[in-house]
């Protein structure tokens, strides 16, 4: 269960997908602070407060991670994150359009908390988001 004051870090490059998450959050009346990183590298910088990025402090209560990302893919981000002792305990949920067992296996190898395939319809997505945040 995510506290209302805990922030969420969304790592997503697609604007529509970002809008989808924002819309789903607002539709489900979640007003937690939402940080957005467009690449895995940017997200790392934000989490560590380096390279001109303000550090997210306190650390986000949840990271929503897309896998198909430019520069640093989601799996690479996971590897970096789990290797960083400061950040290794982060709660992470994968949000991806890939239903491939390969991707799923790779994600679970880095102990993500859940793996969530983006549904085609927004309604489904919204309901799924509500479920995830209330867990």
């Amino acid at each position: 269960m995510l506290n209302s004051d805990e922030s969420i870090l969304l790592i997503e490059d697609d604007r529509v997908d970002i809008m989808t998450v924002q819309r789903a959050l607002s539709k489900n009346s979640f007003d937690n602070p939402l940080f957005i990183a467009r690449t895995g590298l940017e997200a790392l910088h934000m989490l560590r407060g380096e390279k001109g990025h303000e550090k997210i402090d306190p650390p986000p209560g949840l990271i929503l991670l897309d896998l198909n990302l430019p520069k640093m893919s989601g799996i690479e981000f996971l590897r970096e994150l789990r290797a960083d002792p400061q950040l290794s305990e982060q709660r992470i949920i994968v949000l991806t359009s890939s239903n491939e067992p390969k991707d799923r296996d790779a994600a679970f190898q880095y102990e993500v908390d859940d793996y969530f395939v983006k549904p085609h319809s927004f309604g489904e997505f919204s309901r799924a988001m509500a479920t995830i945040l209330s867990l």
């Binding site: 697609d14 529509v16 997908d17 809008m19 819309r23 359009s97 983006k118």
Partner: protein, 667 residues
């Protein structure tokens, strides 16, 4: 032989027709370099084969010649021996005869020695029988020694018994004349036989040099002396003879030792012997031997010493040919006649002592005949051996030819096999390469389909979301037409999503494989039937027993799900039944999924299995044309087949086979 040849030919044809890289010229043609049969033998060895024959012939001829020579030599020796024996026999007989003749003279001497007063009559009586008994004695004489002083007294005394007696001599013209005065006379006082020797009576032998020497020798030696050869006239022919003189002494040792008297020569017993007569008489006792005998005195030159020649009676008067040496057989022997040595030379008469040449010729011919037969026999043996050897060689050569043919065939086959093997390998390599290539391409394709589908889905979802949000946000402001168009937009986006999803699944078949597990097919079908939630009026029924088999659960579930949903979707009626059955046939499970719908015309039976092919208008919802293609792909990936049995209005039956996994038992 014919069957393999045919096979080889067919093999070769096959090779020639199928493989043009095979060069038969590379096959070993050893037969051409190997000598075959006896034609390959050097001619010298043929003649060497007859070496034993030549050897046997040579040796046997050698032996024959040796035997012949030995035999001839032995024969000649035999002949020579016979001749020598004959000669010796004759000489022995003649010696005996001579000794006998000399004995007669000795008898006369003894007779005269025994009495000093032997008268003419007494002499004749004594000598007469001896003369008859002994041939060859021309004359036996008593020759007293008369001193010149006693000459007259001696003549007077002699004339008492023979009045005309006088001492005579022979002058140079061979006339008998009265002897002159001499210191010593050696007159012949008695002579027998008288008639033939009248002229000798009274003859003073001392006036003949030869006889004088003889007498003196006899007196000196006081024993028998023999003169050299002399000529006697016997019955008007000159004959060779000898004179023998034996001295007779007076006085000497008498009965009383004290009556020692001076030893004084009284006279001589003299015999004249004709050598020829003695010899002939002696040989009378022997059969004719074919031996010529020459008697000579041991004085040189030989001609002068010639005494007598006896020609064999076999000659029948034909004198010996001086050119003919009569085989060269000569025997020489010394014999003693008194104080003299005679040389007796014998010659063989050719006819008598000829080798029996027939014997040796017969032996020679026999030996040659035996040699010839032996040679022929050996030649036959050798020939037979050669024939056997030739036959063996011929057989061997046939065998070696056969072996070579076999070897060649084996070689051809081996090379053909190797060629085939290399072809196979190339083919396999080719196939492997092609397979790998095909797999790579399929992988590329699947990868492409996957990536494309994936990347297509995201923007599609964005479009769908955006359309929804527009509809939501403008709900109040949109007119009906715009709302419907937005709905159509979302529907088409949805369909495209389904297509992409189907494509993803299709491409995933064979690429991903869950671990196989034991699946109860009956349970699986019931699960699927539940999840599909068939419309009211439709029933899904399992007929018969379903197997439990080790299989990829997801994939076989996909097959059943797609087939069942296909049946439901395209049934065409408001109620219906879908029956599922299974039977085991020869290592396969044969599943059937049958509906009782409107059926499918036969011309579409192939088409429905193609991807993106549907028999429905594209407006019909949720028909992507992937479901059956996916089923076909899954079935075929697992080694089975699928077919459709259907006609319009009679329902449709999909029947697919699935190999029975090795460790599953049909229940």
């Amino acid at each position: 032989m014919t069957a393999p040849r045919n096979r080889r030919n067919s093999l070769r044809d096959r090779i020639r027709s199928g493989v043009d890289t095979l060069r038969l010229s590379t096959l070993p043609h050893r037969a051409e370099s190997v000598p075959v049969g006896r034609h390959g033998l050097a001619p010298a060895s043929i003649w060497w084969g007859y070496f034993p024959v030549v050897l046997v012939a040579f040796v046997s001829v050698l032996i024959s010649a040796t035997i012949y020579i030995q035999y001839a030599s032995w024969e000649r020796k035999q002949v020579e021996l016979a001749f020598r024996e004959a000669s010796q026999d004759r000489i022995l007989v003649i010696q005996r005869e001579i000794a006998s003749a000399l004995g007669v003279v000795q008898d006369v001497a003894s007779f005269m020695d025994a009495s000093e007063s032997v008268g003419r009559r007494e002499f004749r009586r004594f000598v007469g029988p001896a003369l008859k008994r002994q041939a060859g004695i021309k004359a036996l004489q008593w020759v007293p020694v008369v001193e010149g002083a006693e000459h007259s007294e001696f003549i007077q005394s002699a004339r008492r018994s023979f009045p005309p007696f006088t001492i005579t001599t022979i002058d140079q013209s061979e006339n008998v004349i009265e002897s002159g005065e001499r210191s010593l006379y050696y007159p012949v006082l008695y002579v027998q036989p008288y008639q033939e020797n009248k002229s000798l009576l009274g003859l003073d032998l001392g006036q003949n040099a030869v006889l004088l020497q003889l007498l003196r020798d006899a007196e000196r030696e006081q024993q028998l002396q023999v003169s050299p050869g002399m000529q006697f006239e016997v019955e008007s022919t000159e004959r060779n003879g000898i004179a023998v003189a034996i001295p007779v002494f007076s006085g000497g040792v008498g009965i009383d030792a004290d009556q020692q008297e001076e030893i004084r020569i009284r006279g001589f017993a003299v015999g004249l012997l004709v050598v020829g007569d003695i010899v002939e008489r002696a040989l009378e006792s022997l059969l004719s031997g074919g031996v010529d005998l020459h008697f000579t005195q041991d004085v040189l030159p030989e001609d002068e010493g010639h005494l007598y020649t006896h020609l064999s009676r076999l000659r029948e008067g034909v004198p010996p040919d001086p050119e003919n040496t009569d085989l060269g057989m000569v025997h020489r022997q010394q014999i003693s006649v008194g104080n003299r040595q005679w040389q007796v030379t014998t010659h063989a008469v050719a006819d008598r002592f000829k080798r029996d040449s027939w014997g040796s010729i017969v032996i020679l011919l026999s030996a040659i005949l035996i040699s010839g037969l032996l040679t022929i026999y050996v030649a036959t043996l050798v020939g037979r051996g050669r024939r056997v050897r030739d036959e063996v060689e011929e057989r061997t050569s046939q065998l070696s030819t056969a072996i070579q043919a076999l070897n060649r065939e084996v070689g051809e086959r081996r090379s053909a096999e190797m060629e085939l093997q290399s072809l196979n390998e190339r083919l396999e390599h080719h196939i492997a390469f092609r397979t790998a290539e095909a797999e790579r391409r399929a992988q590329y394709l699947e990868q492409f389909a996957y990536v494309a589908s994936h990347d297509l889905k995201a923007p599609l979802r964005a479009v769908s979301n955006l359309a929804e949000w527009i509809e939501e946000d403008l709900k109040e402001k949109l007119d009906e037409a715009s709302s419907e168009q937005l709905a159509l937009l979302r529907d088409r986006v949805r369909r495209m999503h389904d297509l992409i999803e189907g494509l993803l699944e299709y491409s995933r078949v064979g690429r991903t494989s869950d671990a196989e597990q034991d699946v109860d097919i009956g349970e699986l079908i019931e699960e699927i039937a539940d999840s599909l939630s068939p419309p009211r009026g439709f029933k899904i029924k399992i007929q018969g027993v379903m197997p439990v088999m080790r299989v990829d659960r997801l994939q076989i579930g996909q097959v059943f799900a797609n087939l069942i949903s296909n049946g439901l979707k395209h049934h065409g009626g408001s109620k219906g039944r879908i029956r599922i059955s299974c039977e085991a046939v020869e290592g396969y499970y044969l599943f059937s999924v049958c509906d009782d719908g409107r059926g499918i015309a036969p011309e579409y039976h192939d088409k429905i299995f193609l991807i993106f092919q549907t028999l429905e208008p594209s407006d019909f919802e949720s028909s992507t044309g992937i479901g059956l293609a996916l089923v076909k792909k899954i079935v075929e990936e697992h080694g089975g087949t699928i077919r459709l049995e259907s006609a319009v209005g009679e329902g449709a039956c999909f029947r697919f086979s699935w190999p029975v996994p090795g460790d599953t038992e049909v229940s």
